[in-house]
Protein backbone atom coordinates (compact mmCIF):
# COMPACT_ATOMS: atom_id res chain seq x y z
CA UNK A 1 0.00 0.00 0.00
CA UNK A 2 2.79 2.43 0.89
CA UNK A 3 4.23 2.00 -2.59
CA UNK A 4 0.91 2.73 -4.19
CA UNK A 5 0.40 5.82 -2.08
CA UNK A 6 3.91 7.00 -2.83
CA UNK A 7 3.52 6.60 -6.52
CA UNK A 8 0.08 8.17 -6.80
CA UNK A 9 -0.62 11.51 -5.29
CA UNK A 10 -3.70 11.71 -7.46
CA UNK A 11 -5.38 8.42 -8.24
CA UNK A 12 -7.89 8.47 -11.04
CA UNK A 13 -8.65 4.79 -11.04
CA UNK A 14 -10.72 4.04 -7.94
CA UNK A 15 -10.43 0.28 -8.43
CA UNK A 16 -6.67 0.67 -8.10
CA UNK A 17 -7.11 2.55 -4.82
CA UNK A 18 -9.58 0.01 -3.40
CA UNK A 19 -7.18 -2.79 -4.22
CA UNK A 20 -4.43 -0.85 -2.47
CA UNK A 21 -6.52 -0.12 0.63
CA UNK A 22 -5.91 -3.09 2.78
CA UNK A 23 -8.78 -3.12 5.26
CA UNK A 24 -6.59 -4.70 7.93
CA UNK A 25 -4.55 -1.52 8.12
CA UNK A 26 -7.66 0.61 8.63
CA UNK A 27 -8.74 -1.20 11.80
CA UNK A 28 -8.34 0.63 15.08
CA UNK A 29 -7.92 3.92 13.24
CA UNK A 30 -9.84 6.76 11.60
CA UNK A 31 -9.97 7.19 7.85
CA UNK A 32 -11.47 10.32 6.39
CA UNK A 33 -12.87 10.47 2.88
CA UNK A 34 -13.91 13.98 1.98
CA UNK A 35 -15.41 15.67 -1.01
CA UNK A 36 -18.54 17.32 -2.31
CA UNK A 37 -21.58 15.23 -3.23
CA UNK A 38 -21.20 13.41 -6.51
CA UNK A 39 -17.43 12.85 -6.56
CA UNK A 40 -17.61 9.19 -5.53
CA UNK A 41 -16.65 8.99 -1.85
CA UNK A 42 -19.62 6.77 -0.95
CA UNK A 43 -18.84 4.47 -3.91
CA UNK A 44 -15.28 4.10 -2.61
CA UNK A 45 -16.52 3.00 0.82
CA UNK A 46 -19.18 0.69 -0.61
CA UNK A 47 -16.63 -1.07 -2.81
CA UNK A 48 -14.28 -1.38 0.14
CA UNK A 49 -17.03 -2.97 2.25
CA UNK A 50 -18.07 -5.25 -0.62
CA UNK A 51 -14.49 -6.53 -0.74
CA UNK A 52 -14.62 -7.27 2.98
CA UNK A 53 -17.99 -8.95 3.10
CA UNK A 54 -17.14 -11.00 6.18
CA UNK A 55 -17.19 -7.90 8.38
CA UNK A 56 -20.28 -6.41 9.98
CA UNK A 57 -20.80 -2.72 9.20
CA UNK A 58 -22.58 0.09 11.06
CA UNK A 59 -23.55 3.02 8.86
CA UNK A 60 -24.37 6.24 10.74
CA UNK A 61 -25.78 9.30 8.96
CA UNK A 62 -26.79 12.64 10.42
CA UNK A 63 -29.04 13.27 7.40
CA UNK A 64 -30.01 9.93 5.95
CA UNK A 65 -29.44 10.12 2.19
CA UNK A 66 -27.50 6.93 1.54
CA UNK A 67 -29.50 4.70 -0.80
CA UNK A 68 -29.47 1.11 0.51
CA UNK A 69 -30.79 -0.28 -2.80
CA UNK A 70 -27.63 0.89 -4.53
CA UNK A 71 -25.55 -0.72 -1.79
CA UNK A 72 -27.25 -4.06 -2.43
CA UNK A 73 -26.66 -3.61 -6.17
CA UNK A 74 -22.97 -3.33 -5.37
CA UNK A 75 -23.03 -6.72 -3.71
CA UNK A 76 -23.50 -5.81 -0.06
CA UNK A 77 -25.46 -8.27 2.02
CA UNK A 78 -28.69 -6.94 3.56
CA UNK A 79 -27.72 -8.37 6.94
CA UNK A 80 -24.21 -7.00 6.79
CA UNK A 81 -25.08 -3.32 7.19
CA UNK A 82 -26.83 -1.84 10.21
CA UNK A 83 -28.09 1.70 9.64
CA UNK A 84 -28.47 4.48 12.19
CA UNK A 85 -30.26 7.69 11.24
CA UNK A 86 -28.76 9.66 14.08
CA UNK A 87 -29.75 13.27 13.43
CA UNK A 88 -27.72 15.54 15.71
CA UNK A 89 -26.77 12.65 17.98
CA UNK A 90 -24.18 11.27 15.54
CA UNK A 91 -21.30 11.34 18.02
CA UNK A 92 -23.28 9.66 20.78
CA UNK A 93 -24.46 7.01 18.30
CA UNK A 94 -20.92 6.45 17.09
CA UNK A 95 -19.64 5.85 20.62
CA UNK A 96 -22.52 3.51 21.39
CA UNK A 97 -21.81 1.51 18.26
CA UNK A 98 -18.07 1.38 18.94
CA UNK A 99 -18.49 0.44 22.58
CA UNK A 100 -20.72 -2.52 21.62
CA UNK A 101 -17.73 -3.98 19.72
CA UNK A 102 -20.15 -5.65 17.31
CA UNK A 103 -18.88 -3.95 14.17
CA UNK A 104 -15.53 -4.16 12.46
CA UNK A 105 -16.30 -1.28 10.13
CA UNK A 106 -18.16 1.87 11.17
CA UNK A 107 -19.04 4.47 8.55
CA UNK A 108 -20.16 7.88 9.70
CA UNK A 109 -21.40 10.42 7.21
CA UNK A 110 -21.78 13.93 8.59
CA UNK A 111 -22.33 17.41 7.26
CA UNK A 112 -20.29 19.19 9.95
CA UNK A 113 -16.56 19.09 10.59
CA UNK A 114 -15.38 17.13 13.60
CA UNK A 115 -13.25 18.89 16.20
CA UNK A 116 -9.81 17.76 17.23
CA UNK A 117 -10.99 16.60 20.66
CA UNK A 118 -13.88 14.64 19.16
CA UNK A 119 -11.54 12.98 16.68
CA UNK A 120 -9.17 11.99 19.48
CA UNK A 121 -12.06 10.43 21.43
CA UNK A 122 -13.15 8.56 18.31
CA UNK A 123 -9.60 7.40 17.69
CA UNK A 124 -9.34 5.98 21.22
CA UNK A 125 -12.73 4.28 20.96
CA UNK A 126 -11.84 2.83 17.53
CA UNK A 127 -8.54 1.56 18.89
CA UNK A 128 -10.26 -0.08 21.85
CA UNK A 129 -12.93 -1.70 19.67
CA UNK A 130 -10.46 -2.61 16.94
CA UNK A 131 -12.85 -1.14 14.37
CA UNK A 132 -12.18 0.82 11.22
CA UNK A 133 -13.94 4.17 11.50
CA UNK A 134 -14.51 5.79 8.10
CA UNK A 135 -15.64 9.40 8.23
CA UNK A 136 -17.39 10.78 5.14
CA UNK A 137 -17.37 14.56 5.15
CA UNK A 138 -17.72 17.40 2.70
CA UNK A 139 -14.49 19.16 3.59
CA UNK A 140 -11.12 17.77 4.59
CA UNK A 141 -10.39 18.32 8.27
CA UNK A 142 -7.30 20.48 8.80
CA UNK A 143 -4.65 19.67 11.44
CA UNK A 144 -6.43 16.44 12.26
CA UNK A 145 -3.61 14.43 13.78
CA UNK A 146 -5.85 11.60 15.10
CA UNK A 147 -6.83 10.70 11.51
CA UNK A 148 -4.60 8.04 9.99
CA UNK A 149 -5.59 8.33 6.37
CA UNK A 150 -7.18 11.27 4.58
CA UNK A 151 -8.48 10.92 1.07
CA UNK A 152 -9.98 13.83 -0.80
CA UNK A 153 -12.29 13.20 -3.73
CA UNK A 154 -12.51 15.99 -6.26
CA UNK A 155 -12.96 16.66 -9.97
CA UNK A 156 -9.34 15.69 -10.67
CA UNK A 157 -9.70 12.30 -8.95
CA UNK A 158 -8.69 10.91 -5.63
CA UNK A 159 -6.05 12.75 -3.67
CA UNK A 160 -4.23 11.18 -0.73
CA UNK A 161 -3.85 14.11 1.64
CA UNK A 162 -2.30 12.24 4.51
CA UNK A 163 -1.24 8.76 5.40
CA UNK A 164 0.42 8.00 8.70
CA UNK A 165 3.64 6.13 8.18
CA UNK A 166 3.83 6.78 4.47
CA UNK A 167 5.30 9.66 2.57
CA UNK A 168 2.86 11.46 0.35
CA UNK A 169 4.61 12.95 -2.66
Amino acid sequence: MKEVLRSFSVIRDLDHLIAALNAEKLFGAITEISGEQGFGKTRLVVDLIAQNSKYRVAWIEDDFTVYPYSLFQSGLNAEQVFFVDSGDEYLWSLFQVLSSQLFRIVVISISVALKELELRRIQLAAEKAGSAVIVLSKKTTRNAWPISLQIEMSEIGCLIKKHKGAMVP
Binding site: G38, T65, P68, Q101, L102
Partner: protein, 442 residues
Amino acid sequence: MTSEVACIFFFKRDVKLHDFTEACLRFTPRVAVREGEAIFLDMRGCASLNNDINLSRKLAVLLKRFNLNARVVFSTDAPTAFAKAICQCSKEDFPIEAINAYISPFSVDEQESRKISTLLTFLSLLGLNKLNEIFNIDTGALVLRFGKIADKFVRNYNQPKTINWPLFKVSEKIIEQIDDGDSIFDDSCLDSLFFGLKAIIDRAMARLKGRGERASSLRVELGLKKCSSRCWIIKLPFPQGSAFTLMSILRDRMMFDLQRDPLSAGVFRIRVEILESVPGFGVQKDFFTAREEELETWQSLIARLSDKLGADNVFWACSQDRHLPEKAWKRIIGLNQEREVSERFKPITRPTRLLKTPLPLLQVGNRFIAKFTNGKSTTWVFKEVDGPERISGEWWQAVDKAGIKNSHRDYYKVRTQDGRELWIFCLNSSNQSRYFLHGYFD
Protein backbone atom coordinates in the same frame (compact mmCIF):
# COMPACT_ATOMS: atom_id res chain seq x y z
CA MET B 1 -19.81 -31.59 47.15
CA THR B 2 -23.49 -30.78 46.84
CA SER B 3 -25.83 -30.88 49.81
CA GLU B 4 -29.54 -31.30 49.43
CA VAL B 5 -30.74 -28.32 51.41
CA ALA B 6 -29.27 -24.87 51.99
CA CYS B 7 -30.45 -22.79 54.92
CA ILE B 8 -29.84 -19.04 54.91
CA PHE B 9 -30.05 -17.93 58.51
CA PHE B 10 -30.32 -14.16 59.09
CA PHE B 11 -28.49 -12.53 61.96
CA LYS B 12 -30.97 -9.70 62.22
CA ARG B 13 -34.42 -10.84 63.30
CA ASP B 14 -37.67 -9.75 61.72
CA VAL B 15 -36.22 -8.86 58.33
CA LYS B 16 -38.62 -8.97 55.40
CA LEU B 17 -37.44 -11.93 53.40
CA HIS B 18 -40.02 -12.15 50.66
CA ASP B 19 -38.10 -10.09 48.07
CA PHE B 20 -34.85 -11.88 48.71
CA THR B 21 -36.60 -15.26 48.48
CA GLU B 22 -37.93 -14.26 45.07
CA ALA B 23 -34.38 -13.59 43.94
CA CYS B 24 -33.34 -17.00 45.30
CA LEU B 25 -35.74 -18.70 42.89
CA ARG B 26 -32.95 -18.47 40.33
CA PHE B 27 -31.13 -21.30 42.15
CA THR B 28 -34.04 -23.66 42.67
CA PRO B 29 -37.81 -23.57 42.09
CA ARG B 30 -38.46 -24.96 45.59
CA VAL B 31 -37.91 -22.44 48.35
CA ALA B 32 -39.45 -21.91 51.77
CA VAL B 33 -39.39 -19.03 54.22
CA ARG B 34 -39.37 -19.09 57.98
CA GLU B 35 -40.68 -15.56 58.51
CA GLY B 36 -38.05 -13.14 59.74
CA GLU B 37 -35.47 -15.86 60.40
CA ALA B 38 -34.42 -18.12 57.58
CA ILE B 39 -34.85 -19.21 54.00
CA PHE B 40 -34.53 -22.81 52.81
CA LEU B 41 -33.46 -23.82 49.31
CA ASP B 42 -34.16 -27.36 48.15
CA MET B 43 -31.18 -28.18 45.93
CA ARG B 44 -32.02 -31.81 45.25
CA GLY B 45 -33.05 -31.27 41.64
CA CYS B 46 -30.33 -28.72 40.90
CA ALA B 47 -27.26 -30.50 42.23
CA SER B 48 -25.48 -30.46 38.89
CA LEU B 49 -25.86 -26.68 38.50
CA ASN B 50 -24.42 -25.53 41.82
CA ASN B 51 -22.16 -27.16 44.35
CA ASP B 52 -21.97 -25.90 47.95
CA ILE B 53 -19.00 -23.58 47.37
CA ASN B 54 -20.49 -22.11 44.23
CA LEU B 55 -23.87 -21.57 45.79
CA SER B 56 -22.51 -19.95 48.94
CA ARG B 57 -20.47 -17.51 46.79
CA LYS B 58 -23.49 -16.63 44.68
CA LEU B 59 -25.63 -16.20 47.78
CA ALA B 60 -23.02 -13.92 49.34
CA VAL B 61 -23.21 -11.63 46.30
CA LEU B 62 -27.01 -11.65 46.35
CA LEU B 63 -27.12 -10.94 50.10
CA LYS B 64 -24.83 -7.97 49.61
CA ARG B 65 -27.09 -6.66 46.87
CA PHE B 66 -30.07 -6.80 49.24
CA ASN B 67 -28.05 -5.35 52.11
CA LEU B 68 -28.58 -8.44 54.30
CA ASN B 69 -26.29 -10.37 56.62
CA ALA B 70 -26.76 -14.09 56.93
CA ARG B 71 -25.08 -17.43 57.50
CA VAL B 72 -25.43 -20.14 54.86
CA VAL B 73 -25.49 -23.73 56.09
CA PHE B 74 -25.81 -26.89 54.03
CA SER B 75 -27.23 -30.21 55.11
CA THR B 76 -29.23 -33.20 53.95
CA ASP B 77 -32.60 -31.89 55.19
CA ALA B 78 -34.28 -28.64 56.23
CA PRO B 79 -34.58 -29.13 60.03
CA THR B 80 -30.98 -30.29 60.38
CA ALA B 81 -29.76 -27.36 58.27
CA PHE B 82 -31.78 -24.93 60.40
CA ALA B 83 -30.55 -26.49 63.65
CA LYS B 84 -26.98 -26.38 62.37
CA ALA B 85 -27.36 -22.71 61.47
CA ILE B 86 -28.60 -21.86 64.98
CA CYS B 87 -26.31 -24.07 67.04
CA GLN B 88 -23.24 -24.05 64.78
CA CYS B 89 -22.29 -27.62 65.65
CA SER B 90 -22.62 -31.11 64.21
CA LYS B 91 -25.85 -33.08 64.44
CA GLU B 92 -24.45 -35.30 67.21
CA ASP B 93 -23.78 -32.25 69.41
CA PHE B 94 -27.12 -30.49 68.95
CA PRO B 95 -28.37 -29.14 72.31
CA ILE B 96 -31.82 -30.07 73.50
CA GLU B 97 -33.13 -26.63 72.36
CA ALA B 98 -32.69 -27.76 68.73
CA ILE B 99 -35.93 -29.72 69.17
CA ASN B 100 -37.68 -26.57 68.01
CA ALA B 101 -36.06 -26.83 64.55
CA TYR B 102 -37.33 -30.38 64.12
CA ILE B 103 -40.87 -29.79 65.26
CA SER B 104 -41.60 -26.79 63.02
CA PRO B 105 -38.72 -25.79 60.77
CA PHE B 106 -40.77 -23.58 58.41
CA SER B 107 -43.11 -21.71 60.72
CA VAL B 108 -43.47 -20.21 64.18
CA ASP B 109 -46.68 -21.04 66.01
CA GLU B 110 -47.22 -19.47 69.43
CA GLN B 111 -49.36 -22.30 70.75
CA GLU B 112 -46.81 -24.83 69.58
CA SER B 113 -43.98 -22.76 71.10
CA ARG B 114 -45.63 -22.95 74.53
CA LYS B 115 -45.92 -26.73 74.26
CA ILE B 116 -42.30 -27.00 73.14
CA SER B 117 -41.08 -24.98 76.13
CA THR B 118 -43.02 -27.32 78.48
CA LEU B 119 -41.43 -30.30 76.75
CA LEU B 120 -37.97 -28.71 77.04
CA THR B 121 -38.47 -28.09 80.79
CA PHE B 122 -39.46 -31.70 81.29
CA LEU B 123 -36.49 -33.01 79.29
CA SER B 124 -34.02 -30.84 81.21
CA LEU B 125 -35.51 -32.13 84.50
CA LEU B 126 -34.68 -35.60 83.23
CA GLY B 127 -31.07 -34.42 82.88
CA LEU B 128 -30.95 -34.48 79.06
CA ASN B 129 -28.59 -31.94 77.46
CA LYS B 130 -28.18 -33.20 73.91
CA LEU B 131 -30.86 -33.87 71.37
CA ASN B 132 -29.82 -37.43 70.48
CA GLU B 133 -30.02 -38.37 74.18
CA ILE B 134 -33.82 -38.24 73.90
CA PHE B 135 -33.70 -41.55 72.10
CA ASN B 136 -32.07 -43.15 75.17
CA ILE B 137 -35.44 -42.88 76.90
CA ASP B 138 -38.62 -44.56 75.77
CA THR B 139 -39.99 -42.31 73.00
CA GLY B 140 -43.33 -44.16 73.13
CA ALA B 141 -43.83 -42.93 76.68
CA LEU B 142 -42.78 -39.45 75.63
CA VAL B 143 -45.44 -39.43 72.91
CA LEU B 144 -48.04 -40.66 75.39
CA ARG B 145 -47.07 -37.90 77.85
CA PHE B 146 -46.80 -34.98 75.42
CA GLY B 147 -49.00 -36.16 72.55
CA LYS B 148 -48.90 -34.63 69.09
CA ILE B 149 -45.88 -32.39 69.64
CA ALA B 150 -43.61 -35.22 70.77
CA ASP B 151 -44.90 -37.47 68.01
CA LYS B 152 -44.10 -34.75 65.44
CA PHE B 153 -40.56 -34.44 66.78
CA VAL B 154 -39.88 -38.19 66.71
CA ARG B 155 -41.26 -38.49 63.19
CA ASN B 156 -39.40 -35.44 61.83
CA TYR B 157 -36.12 -36.42 63.48
CA ASN B 158 -36.22 -39.97 62.08
CA GLN B 159 -37.57 -39.03 58.64
CA PRO B 160 -36.68 -35.35 58.08
CA LYS B 161 -36.99 -35.58 54.29
CA THR B 162 -40.70 -36.34 54.48
CA ILE B 163 -41.61 -32.94 55.93
CA ASN B 164 -43.86 -30.97 53.57
CA TRP B 165 -42.42 -27.74 52.27
CA PRO B 166 -44.87 -24.80 52.32
CA LEU B 167 -45.73 -23.15 49.02
CA PHE B 168 -43.94 -19.88 48.27
CA LYS B 169 -45.97 -17.31 46.34
CA VAL B 170 -44.29 -14.56 44.34
CA SER B 171 -45.61 -11.03 44.75
CA GLU B 172 -47.93 -9.56 42.13
CA LYS B 173 -45.80 -6.50 41.49
CA ILE B 174 -42.12 -5.80 41.75
CA ILE B 175 -41.58 -2.57 43.60
CA GLU B 176 -38.26 -1.50 45.05
CA GLN B 177 -37.54 1.74 46.81
CA ILE B 178 -35.22 3.69 49.03
CA ASP B 179 -37.16 5.87 51.38
CA ASP B 180 -35.76 8.17 54.01
CA GLY B 181 -37.40 11.02 55.88
CA ASP B 182 -34.49 13.32 55.16
CA SER B 183 -33.09 14.22 51.82
CA ILE B 184 -30.88 11.34 50.77
CA PHE B 185 -29.70 12.72 47.47
CA ASP B 186 -28.64 16.23 46.77
CA ASP B 187 -30.35 17.74 43.71
CA SER B 188 -27.00 19.16 42.54
CA CYS B 189 -25.23 15.81 42.39
CA LEU B 190 -26.83 13.43 39.94
CA ASP B 191 -24.10 10.82 40.29
CA SER B 192 -25.15 9.99 43.85
CA LEU B 193 -28.75 9.76 42.68
CA PHE B 194 -27.83 7.25 39.98
CA PHE B 195 -25.73 5.35 42.49
CA GLY B 196 -28.83 4.93 44.66
CA LEU B 197 -30.95 4.08 41.65
CA LYS B 198 -28.48 1.38 40.60
CA ALA B 199 -28.87 -0.39 43.94
CA ILE B 200 -32.65 -0.50 43.46
CA ILE B 201 -32.44 -1.60 39.85
CA ASP B 202 -30.00 -4.34 40.88
CA ARG B 203 -32.51 -5.69 43.37
CA ALA B 204 -35.47 -5.42 41.00
CA MET B 205 -33.56 -7.24 38.25
CA ALA B 206 -32.44 -9.94 40.69
CA ARG B 207 -36.08 -10.55 41.62
CA LEU B 208 -37.07 -10.63 37.95
CA LYS B 209 -34.32 -13.12 37.21
CA GLY B 210 -35.55 -15.32 40.04
CA ARG B 211 -39.04 -15.28 38.56
CA GLY B 212 -37.67 -16.03 35.10
CA GLU B 213 -38.85 -12.73 33.65
CA ARG B 214 -37.51 -9.66 31.92
CA ALA B 215 -38.69 -6.07 32.26
CA SER B 216 -40.45 -4.57 29.26
CA SER B 217 -41.65 -1.38 30.89
CA LEU B 218 -40.97 0.30 34.21
CA ARG B 219 -41.74 3.41 36.20
CA VAL B 220 -39.12 5.41 38.06
CA GLU B 221 -40.29 7.95 40.60
CA LEU B 222 -38.22 10.44 42.54
CA GLY B 223 -39.91 11.81 45.66
CA LEU B 224 -38.82 15.40 46.22
CA LYS B 225 -38.66 17.25 49.48
CA LYS B 226 -41.26 19.86 48.57
CA CYS B 227 -44.09 17.33 48.42
CA SER B 228 -43.65 16.89 44.72
CA SER B 229 -42.25 14.12 42.60
CA ARG B 230 -40.78 13.44 39.17
CA CYS B 231 -41.74 10.36 37.26
CA TRP B 232 -40.49 8.52 34.17
CA ILE B 233 -42.31 5.70 32.44
CA ILE B 234 -39.90 3.82 30.24
CA LYS B 235 -41.00 1.32 27.62
CA LEU B 236 -38.14 -0.81 26.44
CA PRO B 237 -37.88 -1.89 22.79
CA PHE B 238 -36.43 -5.21 23.95
CA PRO B 239 -37.24 -6.74 27.32
CA GLN B 240 -34.19 -6.35 29.52
CA GLY B 241 -32.83 -8.79 32.05
CA SER B 242 -29.57 -7.05 32.77
CA ALA B 243 -29.23 -4.27 35.33
CA PHE B 244 -26.21 -2.86 33.50
CA THR B 245 -28.07 -2.31 30.24
CA LEU B 246 -31.16 -1.00 31.95
CA MET B 247 -29.10 1.46 33.97
CA SER B 248 -27.44 2.85 30.86
CA ILE B 249 -30.86 3.41 29.26
CA LEU B 250 -32.24 5.02 32.43
CA ARG B 251 -29.17 7.17 32.88
CA ASP B 252 -29.36 8.50 29.31
CA ARG B 253 -33.07 9.22 29.51
CA MET B 254 -33.04 10.81 32.96
CA MET B 255 -29.85 12.80 32.41
CA PHE B 256 -31.33 14.26 29.22
CA ASP B 257 -34.51 15.33 31.06
CA LEU B 258 -32.75 16.51 34.20
CA GLN B 259 -30.30 18.64 32.27
CA ARG B 260 -33.18 20.45 30.58
CA ASP B 261 -35.37 20.61 33.66
CA PRO B 262 -33.31 20.17 36.86
CA LEU B 263 -34.78 18.88 40.12
CA SER B 264 -36.37 21.59 42.24
CA ALA B 265 -35.38 20.02 45.59
CA GLY B 266 -33.43 17.20 47.17
CA VAL B 267 -34.64 13.64 46.67
CA PHE B 268 -35.81 11.68 49.69
CA ARG B 269 -37.27 8.67 47.91
CA ILE B 270 -36.45 6.64 44.83
CA ARG B 271 -39.07 4.14 43.74
CA VAL B 272 -38.91 1.70 40.86
CA GLU B 273 -41.91 -0.31 39.76
CA ILE B 274 -41.81 -2.93 37.04
CA LEU B 275 -45.01 -2.26 35.11
CA GLU B 276 -44.76 -5.03 32.54
CA SER B 277 -42.60 -8.08 32.29
CA VAL B 278 -42.33 -10.96 29.85
CA PRO B 279 -41.06 -14.50 30.35
CA GLY B 280 -37.34 -14.56 29.78
CA PHE B 281 -35.36 -17.39 31.26
CA GLY B 282 -31.63 -17.02 31.17
CA VAL B 283 -29.88 -19.10 28.57
CA GLN B 284 -26.82 -21.18 29.26
CA LYS B 285 -23.66 -20.11 27.54
CA ASP B 286 -22.63 -22.14 24.55
CA PHE B 287 -19.09 -23.35 25.07
CA PHE B 288 -18.20 -23.13 21.40
CA THR B 289 -19.94 -19.92 20.28
CA ALA B 290 -20.67 -16.54 21.80
CA ARG B 291 -24.11 -16.33 20.12
CA GLU B 292 -26.10 -15.69 23.29
CA GLU B 293 -23.72 -13.05 24.54
CA GLU B 294 -23.75 -11.39 21.14
CA LEU B 295 -27.53 -11.41 21.04
CA GLU B 296 -27.61 -9.70 24.41
CA THR B 297 -25.15 -7.05 23.19
CA TRP B 298 -27.28 -6.51 20.08
CA GLN B 299 -30.43 -6.09 22.13
CA SER B 300 -28.70 -3.73 24.48
CA LEU B 301 -27.31 -1.59 21.63
CA ILE B 302 -30.63 -1.42 19.78
CA ALA B 303 -32.47 -0.63 23.02
CA ARG B 304 -30.16 2.29 23.78
CA LEU B 305 -30.16 3.67 20.24
CA SER B 306 -33.94 3.26 19.82
CA ASP B 307 -34.61 4.94 23.13
CA LYS B 308 -32.60 8.00 22.17
CA LEU B 309 -33.15 8.24 18.42
CA GLY B 310 -36.55 6.62 17.99
CA ALA B 311 -37.25 3.03 16.96
CA ASP B 312 -37.62 3.92 13.25
CA ASN B 313 -34.14 5.38 13.04
CA VAL B 314 -32.26 2.21 13.95
CA PHE B 315 -32.72 -0.44 11.29
CA TRP B 316 -31.52 -2.88 8.69
CA ALA B 317 -32.57 -2.38 5.10
CA CYS B 318 -33.84 -4.73 2.47
CA SER B 319 -34.85 -4.30 -1.13
CA GLN B 320 -38.41 -4.78 -2.32
CA ASP B 321 -40.08 -5.12 -5.70
CA ARG B 322 -41.25 -1.56 -6.29
CA HIS B 323 -40.47 0.62 -9.28
CA LEU B 324 -40.21 3.99 -7.56
CA PRO B 325 -36.60 4.44 -6.38
CA GLU B 326 -37.62 5.77 -2.94
CA LYS B 327 -39.81 2.70 -2.41
CA ALA B 328 -37.40 0.09 -3.71
CA TRP B 329 -36.16 -0.53 -0.19
CA LYS B 330 -37.66 -0.69 3.27
CA ARG B 331 -36.53 -0.44 6.85
CA ILE B 332 -36.41 -3.57 8.97
CA ILE B 333 -36.80 -2.66 12.61
CA GLY B 334 -36.00 -5.14 15.36
CA LEU B 335 -33.83 -8.21 15.52
CA ASN B 336 -36.29 -10.96 14.78
CA GLN B 337 -38.22 -9.55 11.85
CA GLU B 338 -38.17 -11.62 8.74
CA ARG B 339 -36.42 -10.11 5.80
CA GLU B 340 -38.01 -10.78 2.45
CA VAL B 341 -35.10 -9.69 0.36
CA SER B 342 -35.73 -9.18 -3.31
CA GLU B 343 -32.75 -10.26 -5.36
CA ARG B 344 -34.19 -8.93 -8.60
CA PHE B 345 -32.15 -5.78 -8.94
CA LYS B 346 -32.58 -3.30 -11.73
CA PRO B 347 -29.89 -3.68 -14.39
CA ILE B 348 -29.17 0.04 -14.34
CA THR B 349 -26.94 1.26 -11.54
CA ARG B 350 -28.69 3.41 -8.99
CA PRO B 351 -27.08 6.40 -7.22
CA THR B 352 -25.48 5.91 -3.81
CA ARG B 353 -27.27 8.96 -2.42
CA LEU B 354 -30.99 9.57 -2.77
CA LEU B 355 -32.55 12.82 -1.59
CA LYS B 356 -35.51 12.50 0.77
CA THR B 357 -37.42 15.02 -1.33
CA PRO B 358 -36.50 15.65 -4.99
CA LEU B 359 -35.01 19.13 -5.45
CA PRO B 360 -36.57 21.25 -8.23
CA LEU B 361 -34.04 22.40 -10.83
CA LEU B 362 -34.19 25.26 -13.25
CA GLN B 363 -32.78 24.47 -16.69
CA VAL B 364 -31.15 27.33 -18.55
CA GLY B 365 -29.38 26.20 -21.72
CA ASN B 366 -26.82 23.57 -20.69
CA ARG B 367 -27.04 24.54 -17.03
CA PHE B 368 -29.09 23.35 -14.11
CA ILE B 369 -29.64 25.78 -11.27
CA ALA B 370 -30.54 24.26 -7.92
CA LYS B 371 -31.87 26.22 -4.97
CA PHE B 372 -31.29 24.45 -1.67
CA THR B 373 -33.49 24.75 1.38
CA ASN B 374 -30.79 26.71 3.24
CA GLY B 375 -31.06 29.49 0.66
CA LYS B 376 -27.86 28.67 -1.23
CA SER B 377 -27.95 27.98 -4.93
CA THR B 378 -25.62 26.03 -7.21
CA THR B 379 -25.19 25.93 -10.94
CA TRP B 380 -24.09 22.76 -12.72
CA VAL B 381 -23.02 22.76 -16.32
CA PHE B 382 -23.78 19.39 -17.81
CA LYS B 383 -21.31 17.66 -20.08
CA GLU B 384 -22.70 14.21 -20.74
CA VAL B 385 -26.16 12.76 -20.31
CA ASP B 386 -27.19 9.08 -20.16
CA GLY B 387 -30.85 8.17 -20.44
CA PRO B 388 -33.69 8.42 -20.23
CA GLU B 389 -34.88 5.53 -18.09
CA ARG B 390 -38.63 5.82 -17.69
CA ILE B 391 -40.04 4.88 -14.29
CA SER B 392 -43.80 4.87 -13.99
CA GLY B 393 -45.40 6.61 -11.07
CA GLU B 394 -47.86 4.86 -8.82
CA TRP B 395 -51.14 6.06 -10.34
CA TRP B 396 -53.16 4.56 -7.50
CA GLN B 397 -51.56 6.87 -4.95
CA ALA B 398 -53.22 10.12 -3.91
CA VAL B 399 -52.23 13.03 -6.14
CA ASP B 400 -49.50 15.12 -4.51
CA LYS B 401 -48.98 18.82 -5.10
CA ALA B 402 -45.92 18.52 -7.32
CA GLY B 403 -47.35 15.46 -9.08
CA ILE B 404 -44.12 13.54 -8.44
CA LYS B 405 -45.65 10.39 -6.97
CA ASN B 406 -48.08 9.69 -9.77
CA SER B 407 -46.41 10.89 -12.95
CA HIS B 408 -44.00 9.07 -15.25
CA ARG B 409 -40.45 10.06 -14.53
CA ASP B 410 -37.66 10.12 -17.12
CA TYR B 411 -34.38 9.63 -15.29
CA TYR B 412 -31.03 10.86 -16.62
CA LYS B 413 -27.53 10.26 -15.34
CA VAL B 414 -25.86 13.64 -15.82
CA ARG B 415 -22.11 14.23 -15.72
CA THR B 416 -21.29 17.84 -14.96
CA GLN B 417 -18.30 19.82 -16.11
CA ASP B 418 -16.71 19.67 -12.64
CA GLY B 419 -16.84 15.86 -12.61
CA ARG B 420 -19.96 15.19 -10.53
CA GLU B 421 -22.53 12.61 -11.41
CA LEU B 422 -26.14 13.56 -10.72
CA TRP B 423 -29.38 11.64 -11.02
CA ILE B 424 -32.02 13.92 -12.46
CA PHE B 425 -35.53 13.20 -13.55
CA CYS B 426 -37.88 15.06 -15.80
CA LEU B 427 -41.64 15.30 -15.48
CA ASN B 428 -43.24 15.89 -18.84
CA SER B 429 -46.60 17.56 -18.90
CA SER B 430 -48.43 18.97 -21.89
CA ASN B 431 -47.03 22.49 -21.48
CA GLN B 432 -43.60 22.11 -19.97
CA SER B 433 -40.81 19.86 -18.68
CA ARG B 434 -39.87 20.12 -15.04
CA TYR B 435 -36.53 18.83 -13.79
CA PHE B 436 -35.73 17.50 -10.32
CA LEU B 437 -32.49 16.40 -8.72
CA HIS B 438 -33.13 13.04 -7.04
CA GLY B 439 -29.67 11.77 -6.12
CA TYR B 440 -25.92 11.73 -6.50
CA PHE B 441 -23.59 9.04 -7.76
CA ASP B 442 -21.38 9.88 -4.83
